[in-house]
């Protein structure tokens, strides 16, 4: 459903994403992991059509994000890591606006707005300005906005940040239900327990390159590890040295 072919992004002389090729099949919940600054957000923003790749291409279904942007983006729901929304709109107005961007309006949209606000427990905030929302509430609103047009694919960057445990659980159930109905999710996260529990397949990116990709069993086989968990796998693949150094610094601080 999502195909990345030789995807590359340069910022001046710095190569943030380096020749990434990845296939996220339909109906999969795909985890996208990597240390800070590895190129996760840049990759996801290229998939969403926000950034133009320096080289390579992104396909959503059969549609190229650069060549057929309208068709590709109409299938996609993007949830960014930083919830910037129009402060002077109410929650309902924001969702109505987003539905409008996808060419949808009318009673169906109004019903969908009520439905989503209800699911995310924002109904009582429906007619309040976003500027009075907390960080978590904004995150919930953005997740709702990514679902308002019933996308086929969800690309999500750090979805759990700022969510309370109840909302985090809700989101997990929501993603499971979404892929169960044939939807596709590509999710970047630092919460390895969530990735391990939720994701069918996982890709790990470091220094802009995919260093491993596959199911947990495949990852273990690729790294010739025994029956270890995702956290150990991740540290092995991305250099556990830094983690040890960090632990040493923290120990020293005591």
């Amino acid at each position: 459903m999502i195909k990345l072919e030789g995807l590359t992004k340069d910022y001046g002389s710095f190569r943030a994403v380096d020749d990434v090729t990845l296939h996220v099949p339909k109906g999969a919940l795909y985890g996208f992991l990597g240390p800070n600054g590895a190129g996760k957000t840049t990759t996801l923003r290229m998939i969403a059509g926000i950034l133009r790749p320096t080289a390579g291409r992104v396909l959503i279904g059969d549609d190229d994000v650069i060549r057929q942007p309208m068709a590709a983006k109409a299938r996609l729901g993007f949830i960014p890591d930083r919830p910037f929304v129009y402060e002077k709109l109410t929650g309902a107005e924001f969702l109505r606006f987003v539905a409008g961007l996808y060419g949808q309006d009318g009673q169906l949209v109004e019903r969908r707005i009520d439905e989503l606000l209800d699911v995310f427990e924002l109904s009582s905030w429906k007619n309040e300005l976003v500027e009075s929302y907390s960080h978590g509430m904004r995150q919930k609103l953005i997740i709702s906005s990514a679902l308002i047009h019933r996308p086929e694919v969800i690309v999500v960057d750090e979805p759990m940040v700022g969510l309370d445990p109840r909302a985090a659980r809700l989101l997990k159930d929501l993603f499971k239900g979404f892929v169960g109905r044939g939807g596709t999710v590509l999710m970047s996260t630092h919460t390895l327990e969530i990735a391990e529990a939720l994701c069918d397949r996982i890709a790990i990116i470091q220094g802009g390159k995919i260093v491993a990709a596959g199911t947990m069993a495949e990852l273990r086989a690729q790294t010739a590890s025994g029956n270890i968990g995702l956290e150990d796998l991740f540290l092995r693949l991305t250099g556990g040295v830094e983690a040890k150094e960090l632990a040493a610094v923290l120990e020293g601080g005591r």
């Binding site: 969403a48 926000i50 133009r52 960014p80 929304v85 107005e93 109505r96 606006f97 409008g100 996808y102």
Partner: protein, 555 residues
């Protein structure tokens, strides 16, 4: 505490230099120097004239300085109150500073310094050509800059302390975000009131000889200080005393000791009230809003546009009218327009027996340039920031199937339609007041429509070329470098259009003068076609450039 800001400014300057910012610097320097030269030139002539006037010359010069400084005090007070609100209560670094073990007095002094710098730099720059003119005309000598700076610095500190204290008290009464709304309305309302008042008292009447009938009274008024307690009078006394050869130290003592005492008192008040004020500042602004009118009537009206364009237009209008810092500028705009029409009415064109047809036609024609300039200033305020204001939400617009063309289309027409209504109102009203001929009315209406379309496109184009994505306050965006370049480009367009159109207008006046019927010549047609061509180019090219630029934005 100020080091991060200082370092940021330095880095930004370095980056600007690295990315070919030299041209930007040259443009800013040229515009700044031209402005200084103009202020200096006007004041130099006035002061030289005063110097030649026996008895009251020095008094007049002193009074003029005192008046200029008094207006500075009022401007500084207002701008300090508004700036203090941001620097003391809404700035992003406050969470870090307040949670750190930073001494209250140090925090106060750092934030006071920041407030002073942000609110006073423009006044300080404005003061340079003023003091220079006094120094040149009254032979101030090499020590004059020291005297001027020594008296002007404490003069700047006082309004900063008073403004910050006023803000501190206000924030303790109202939530900070409400205070900001309140202040922007008060500030702009006050400015509009002052402009209207100043115009309605018709200062040009003072230039008439009958205004000087009572010389003794006049001198008495000149000798009396506005108030012996005002720091502006102290600066005047210090400066004029030095220039008159009798240095009076008392005003300087007063200035420095009052500024010092004010800072101490300010720090004490800050220590008492800051924490509660800061806590209140975390409260949100209004929560509930009425949205019925927007989605109801307007939604139905815009239905033919389709869902995406309609929702975009409605969203833009909602954001504009819900942001006090944006719509409150309309108050000032209304006052300026009233003054504009009042000025046209007050023109002494119809005093004599005969209606001066040529004068009316020429004023009506030149009025196009002036109206164009007014429209450009409005476009700079409201259309130029449009692209910048979308910056933070660009993730949403770019990841959705919204065509960027539709975004630009919406931004363009949301700005252009009200501007067009305004442009037509100004042109038709002024031409009616001037009793202009149908030919001039037709030329005026046709040209202003074309100019408005072009000015809007230029504003949007330059707004996209020089975006300010990090600015939170929309009112600051037009004062950026891009805003300046936009104004310069628009003035060039206005000049070009007026020069080309002067050909057919001259032919028309000539025919009227010779009492012959107007014959439409090929030259006239070519001139009008050229104007259409120039305006259409100035509309299409900036919009295309804007579209390309928006497509290239990366977030």
């Amino acid at each position: 505490m100020l080091q991060p800001k200082w370092r940021t400014a330095l880095t930004r300057a370095r980056q600007d230099r690295a990315s070919g910012g030299a041209g930007k610097l040259v443009v800013l320097a040229v515009v700044g120097l031209a402005f200084w030269a103009a202020v200096f030139g006007v004041l130099f002539r006035v002061l030289r004239y005063f110097r030649g006037v026996q008895e009251i010359g020095a008094l007049l010069a002193g009074k003029l300085l005192s008046l200029a400084l008094l207006s500075f005090v009022s401007v500084l007070l207002l701008s300090n109150v508004i700036t203090a609100l941001s620097s003391f209560f809404l700035a992003k670094d406050l969470d870090l500073l307040v949670s750190s073990p930073v001494d209250q007095v140090r925090l106060y002094l750092a934030k006071l310094g920041e407030t002073l710098l942000h609110s006073s730099w423009m006044v300080a720059l404005m003061a340079v050509p003023i003091f220079t003119a006094y120094a040149v005309v009254y032979h101030g000598g090499v020590l004059f800059p020291l005297v001027a700076a020594g008296s002007f610095l404490p003069f700047l500190v006082l309004p900063a302390v008073l403004g910050s204290a006023a803000t501190l008290i206000l924030v303790n009464v109202f939530p900070a975000r409400r205070t900001r709304d309140l202040l922007s309305i008060i500030a702009l309302g006050a400015a509009a009131g002052v402009i209207l008042l100043f115009r309605i008292i018709r200062p040009e009447q003072l230039a008439r000889p009958e205004g000087f009938r009572n010389l003794l009274d006049f001198i008495t008024v000149l000798r009396a200080p506005a108030s012996p307690l005002l720091p502006s009078d102290w600066v005047t006394k210090a400066v004029m005393g030095y220039l008159g050869g009798k240095m009076d130290w008392l005003p300087l003592y007063l200035l420095w000791s009052t500024a010092g005492a004010a800072v101490v008192l300010g720090a004490l008040v800050h220590g008492r009230l800051y924490h509660t004020g800061f806590t209140r500042a975390q409260e949100g602004a209004e929560r509930f809003v009425r949205g019925g009118i927007w989605s109801g009537a307007l939604g139905r009206l815009l239905r033919p546009l389709g869902a995406s364009r309609r929702e975009f237009v409605i969203k833009d209008l909602k954001l504009f009218f819900r942001d006090t810092t944006q719509w409150s500028q309309l108050i000032l705009l209304a006052a300026l327009l009233l003054v504009y029409l009042f000025n046209i009415r007050a023109l002494p064109l119809f005093r004599g027996e005969q209606v001066p047809f040529y004068l009316v036609s020429i004023v009506s024609f030149l009025n196009l340039g002036l109206a164009g300039f007014v429209l450009a200033s409005i476009a700079a305020r409201f259309i130029f920031p449009a692209v910048s204001l979308e910056g933070r939400q660009m993730w949403l617009l770019r990841s959705s199937p919204l065509e960027l063309r539709a975004l630009l289309w919406s931004k363009y027409w949301v700005g252009t339609v009200p501007l067009l209504v305004l442009a037509l109102a100004i042109t038709i009203l002024t031409n009616v007041i001037l009793k202009a001929s149908p030919f001039m009315m037709a030329v005026g209406i046709g040209t202003i429509v074309l100019l408005t379309l072009a000015i809007s496109a230029l504003a949007l184009g330059f707004g996209a070329l020089y975006p300010q994505f990090e600015t939170e306050n929309a009112a600051q965006i037009p004062t950026s470098f891009g805003g300046l370049v936009f104004m310069m480009a628009t003035i060039a367009l206005l000049a070009l259009v007026i020069v080309i159109e002067s050909v057919p207008v001259y032919r028309y006046l000539r025919a009227a003068f010779d009492q012959e019927p107007l014959r439409i010549s090929a030259l006239m047609i070519v001139a009008f076609l050229l104007v259409i061509g120039v305006c259409v180019t100035a509309t299409v090219v900036p919009l295309r450039v804007a579209l390309r630029k928006i497509e290239q934005f990366e977030f």
